[in-house]
Structure formats: C-alpha cells, structure tokens
Amino acid sequence: MMAQRGYWANLRTGLRTVWTGLRLTFRHLKQARRRRAPVPIWDPSYFRQPDGQVTIRYPHEAIPVPDTGRYRLHNHIDDCIGCLKCARVCPVDCITIETIKAVEDLGTTSNGQKKRLWIARFDIDMAKCCYCGLCTMVCPTECLTMTKVHDFSEFDRDNMVYHFANLTPEEAEEKRRLAEAAAARPTAPVREGASEKPAAGSGKPAFAPRAVPRGQSAPPGQAGAPATRPAFAPGAVPGPEPEQSGEAEPKAETSSPQAEERKPTPRPFVFKRKES
Amino acid sequence: MGSAAYLNGYLVIGALLFALGLFAVLTRRNAIGVLMGVELMLNAANLNLVAFSQFDPYRLGGQVAALLVIVLAVCEAAVALAIVLNLYDRLQTVNVDEVDNLRA
C-alpha cells in the first residue's frame, strides 16, 4: 500500500494522522479532570456521561445495583419443601440438599403447600454457582431467590458455601431417628441405617424425597407399594398435591424413583444422583 | 614532568597491542577472530600516531593520519564482514583454514 501511494501523499497522510491521533488523546487527557458520577443505571444521566474518567473506585464507591439484581442466592428455608428440583437442575451441582421425612406435621409454606420434610442440609456453594438462575425458576414455592448482593468475596473458599438449613446437627439426628423408627415399624428389615454413607460415585448424600409426594398421589404408588403407606402417613392427609399441577416434571425422570417405590422393601434413603 | 615520559608508555602499549593482534591473526581459525586481531593491530598503529602527534599540537599530522586510519578500518571491517557472510553463505564455514578451495 505504501508503494502504491505517492511519497508525498504518504508523508502527508502520516503527518495528518499522527496529528489527529495526538489531538484525540490530548483531548482525553484534558477531560481527565472530569469523571463520571457513580450513578445507578436508572438514573437518566447514566448513558449521558461520555467524557472524563470512567473508572469507579470500586470498594470506595459503587454503582448502585438495581433491586432486580440477580446475584447471590438466598433460600427462605421456612418455605422450602425440600423438593430437590433446584439441586437437580443446577448445571454445576452447587446445591446440596439433605432431607429427612418428617413424622410430625410441619405445617405449610407461605403459599399453602404442605411441608413433609425436614431440611437437614441446604448448602449452596456460591464459589461454584454460575448465576444461571435455573434453580430459582424451578423452585415450586419460590423460596430460592437471587438477591442483589453481589459483593461477597471471602478469603477462605469454605466460606463461600452458604448453609440455609435451620436444623442443628443434633436436631437432624433426632429427626432422622424418628423417621427411621417410623419407617422400620411396618417392615422388619431395614436395609440401610441412619449413617449417611454415600453410594459409590455420588459425592453428595442426599435424601430423595422427590418420589414421595408423587408416589403418594399417583395410582401406581398406591397400588404397587402398600407396605410403604405407613411411612408416609403423617404427611399423607390431603389427596392430590397442588404442586403437581403447577409444574411439568419430565416423565422419564419420574419413572425410576417410582420403580424404586414399588419395591416391597422400604427405602428411607435414596441417594440423589442427577442424570445429565 | 613532560609528556615525553609517557611516550615510551604509549609506544610499549602500542607494541603490546600489535603483538597481541598479530597473535590473534595467526592463531584464530574463525575469520571474525582474525578480523578482531586486525582491529587490534590498527589500533596499535593509531596509538603510535597519536602519541607522536602530541608533540606537534599545531599541525596534528598524526591525528589526521589516525583519523584516516579509522576511516579505513571501517571500510575494512565492512568489506571483510561482507566477505565473511558471503563465505558462510557458500561454504557454511567461517574457518579460514578450511577455505582453501578455489572453486568454491
């Protein structure tokens, strides 16, 4: 290209472009006396500050986050029914839930759903979270939400794991014992004890209550496994659950727990393994 | 104390440089090593010229001669290096004792 153009034209272009560039940068240098204000995005002037320094000195000042910001997860444990949907949908497996069948009445959630499970453990590892929001979408009781808190760095990675369960370990042990007793009453052999040994390959032991309400409401559960009935007795009062109508559960996934359900042996503990 | 006392000093250093340069020229196999020896010898000569020129501060014949020697040294180095590069291109060697082939 250099050869095609004349020497003088080339020289002239060179000088002109150098001058233009230097003028441009000098203008920015002068504008560095101004700086943009840390206004939130809903401020009308947010997009009208093209001049001056754009840097926001973050820890000292911050652009306010909108109330609709979706950053850190929060679980309102009082509304959680332990359905495990969030844990299953999570693409990065950052939610670990452990539930215990409740023998007593737990009351209902704020939107009227029956609670049947103690949440012994509800951990979200925010270090793994990819902020996709899928878990909040599948949550039937809308207890799992994303909050506008976005600055929660920690020195220790363990501190990034948020615990939402409201049971102390002792309480959890107590409930577990109760659940076992209730489960053991109708059928003599209890295959697995209270110890939460994970199955091979599964890193997170979790009780799978997912089959529970469904098996109760669905006819095969009733017909095929009468022996399990007592185990569900405390929570089995109402008929069809409202939550079932509320969401579309993949049928393929339901089949396997149901098959387990039909087995004569009661299985208080089913290890959750997410198929992906 | 005049500078005559230094004259012998200059001359001895010059002689030493010349001898070292000659030694390098005689013993180095690498052509560039030989060139370095030549530069040493040229400098030895220049040193003598300048040493004597200080007794002649108004005509400075020695310094002019030294200046011309420097110019010639530049020419010599440039041409010699060009030759060395050429040699390397053709023979893949710069060892002067291997370059004994007239048909290369």
Partner: protein
C-alpha cells in the same frame, strides 16, 4: 615512594568531589525515574479515561516507590544457560551509557560537570555503548526473544543515529562548535555575536532581547524541521513507542530484558527513563535554548535577565526536558507500533533525506552569513 600516602590523600579530594557529583546526578536520575514512571502511569491512565494508581500513598504517589522496593527485594535469578558475565554486566553497561551523557550536559551558566569541547559527539558516541549493552543483554540471556529484541534494537538505534546525527550536525554547522555549553550560550542574552530574528540580516538583532527569539529554532527557522527529525529519531533511539519493536510484547515477550528481573531490571528501567530525559535535554540544548529562559527582555521589563541564573538554568532546562518526556509519553499512548519495514522506511526514506536537506541548508546559511 614516601609520597604515596600524601599522594593518595591529595587524590582523595577530587575523587570524592567527582563521586559526590556523580552520586548527585545518579540519585537525581533515580528520583526522576520514580516520578516519571508515576507520570507515565497517570498520563496513560488519563489518556485512556482511567484513573491510574490511587491506592498506595496519597493519590498513588508511592506506587512506584513500592514497585522499586519490590524489585529490590526480588530474588536475583540468573538463567541457567545464560552467558553469565555478559548477562550480569549488561544492564549496568546500558545504564552507564545513559548516565555518562549527563556529565556533559550544561544545566546552567557555569553548571556543567565536564565542559567538553566535543560534548555533542561525546553523547552520540556513548549512545553506542548503550547499543553494545543491549546486544550483551540479548545475547547473554540465551533467549531467542531477547536476542531478536536486541538485534532489532541495535538495527533501529544505529539506523536512527543517522538522521539524528544529521539533525544535530545542522545545528553544529551553524553554531560552529561541538561544545554544548557554547551552543547554549549562543542562544541567549549572553550571545557574543549579533543574532538576527529568523536569521535574516535585515530583521533586527535580537541578541539583547534574549528569550524565545534567540533560540536556534527561531533564529534559524529551518531548524524547526531538524528539531522534528531529531525528536522522532530520538524516540527511536530510546526505543520508545511508536518505535518500541525491540520490546514488542506481542511478538517478543519483552525483548532484550525478557530474562531480567529485580535490580537488574530496575537498571534497564532507569536507563530507559534516563535516556528519555537525556535525549529531551539534548534536544533542548541544541534547539530550544538550553538553560535559557523563554521570556524575552521587553524594554524595562528585563524578564530574560531576571530569569537567568544557576537555579533558573536548572529549572528551565529540566522544564524543557520534562516537556519532551511528556511528549514521549503522549506519543506512546497515542500511536501504534510501527512494523520493522515501516520503521526502516521512515528512517531511510523520510527522515534521512530531510535531515540531509537540513544540513545543506545549514551549510549554505552558515557560509552566507
């Protein structure tokens, strides 16, 4: 033989004096480099709409101090395959080459460490040592990027020495001396001969006026072009952008100082920033009146007289030098890096012919005067 002790005592005074001056200049360069690195960060930040260092010290002023401390405390690593003596000595060679240049720099009337008759040539000559140092660093590192960087750097510096030298020559021809101090003296109220405005004899003599009008660039207007040529060439000689292909990080990691760290790297840094100031000062001395004030005597308002003196001299000269350094930074954060062929095109086909033309003009001017 008995006078050996006395001799050494007699020697001690001057040697200490020289060392004191040298230390003064060295610490000045070190302090200036600290400030210049900070300034470079700030300038680059402001040009890019950022804020630059802010956290360390008030307004980030201690950032470079912290960096220097970090460099000093770093482990001194020598690459296993490096040519150790060359590798170790290279940064100091490069720095000394720059440092020596300050010895002949006139900072004010009577204020020059070594008033050499061949000052201009002296500085040019010692730039050659810098080249040798860079080559040492590149070769000694035993790293292909370092070697490529060094070779590029050497090719570039030697090439650009020609237009720079010719531009300097066009000044020297008119000044009739290689002594930097004399060149400065000619450009101010102290000028001995008549000095006409724009060098034209029919315009009034401004040698009593002083100030801006007696500077070489105004006394001989064609030197403005020579100054531009010199400035561009000096950018290349200190390997600054847009001529920083010796250390083009996208191709060569960091060029000749790829393998260096710690104190040795700090010396390269000192050399780079010291070199920037040095070429700026030389430009100021040759073209912009050196330590002379830009303010002219206006009738009874003797601005030039009032603002001339040792302290003022340092002030004005450093001001001019810092202005040049600022332009270096400004250009660095504006212009993209040149390709190697563009670099050589600029040097040999643009700057050198124009510089030769300036020398010819100067020669005619000098003989016609």
């Amino acid at each position: 033989m008995g006078s050996g002790m006395e001799f050494f005592i007699a020697l001690l005074g001057p040697v200490l004096g020289v060392m004191f001056v040298a230390l003064l200049v060295a610490s000045f360069i070190a302090l200036y480099t600290l400030a210049a690195v900070y300034a470079e960060r700030k300038v680059s930040a402001f040009i890019q709409d950022r804020v630059g260092p802010l956290e360390t010290g008030p307004r980030g002023l201690l950032q470079t101090v912290a960096d220097i401390l970090k460099l000093l405390l770093k482990e001194d690593i020598v690459p296993r395959m490096a040519d150790k003596p060359l590798w170790v000595v290279a940064p100091f060679v490069v720095f000394s080459a720059v440092f020596v240049g300050y010895a002949v720099m006139p900072f004010g009337p009577e204020l020059v460490a070594a008033n050499l008759n061949v000052g201009v040539l002296f500085i040019t000559a010692f730039a050659a040592f810098e080249v040798a140092g860079l080559l040492l660093a590149g070769w000694g590192s035993n790293n292909k990027y370092a070697l490529y960087g060094a070779v590029r750097s050497v090719a570039q510096v030697i090439s650009y020495e020609i237009p720079a030298g010719l531009a300097v020559l066009s000044v020297v021809l008119l000044a009739g001396t290689l002594n930097l101090q004399e060149i400065v003296l000619q450009q101010g109220i102290g000028a001995s001969g008549p000095r006409h405005l724009f060098g034209l004899p029919f315009l009034p003599d401004v040698s009593a006026l002083g100030g801006l009008f007696t500077w070489n660039v105004l006394a001989y207007p064609h030197l403005l072009i020579a100054f531009a040529i010199y400035f561009i060439a000096s950018l290349a000689e200190v390997n600054r952008a847009p001529f920083d292909i010796p250390e083009a990080e996208s191709e060569l990691v960091a060029g000749y100082h790829t393998e260096y760290g710690g104190i040795k790297f700090a010396f390269f840094y000192l050399a780079e920033y010291g070199g920037m100031l040095l070429v700026g000062l030389i430009g100021a001395v040759l073209f912009l009146g050196g330590w002379h004030s830009p303010l002219p005597n206006l009738g009874p308002v003797r601005l030039a007289d009032w603002t001339t003196g040792p302290i003022w001299g340092i002030f004005w000269l450093l001001l001019k030098g810092f202005a040049a350094v600022f332009v270096h930074m400004w250009a660095r954060w504006t212009l993209p890096r040149l390709r190697v062929d563009q670099l050589m095109y600029l040097c040999w086909k643009v700057l050198t012919p124009f510089a030769v033309a300036m020398v010819v003009v100067s020669a005619f001017w000098a003989s016609w005067r």
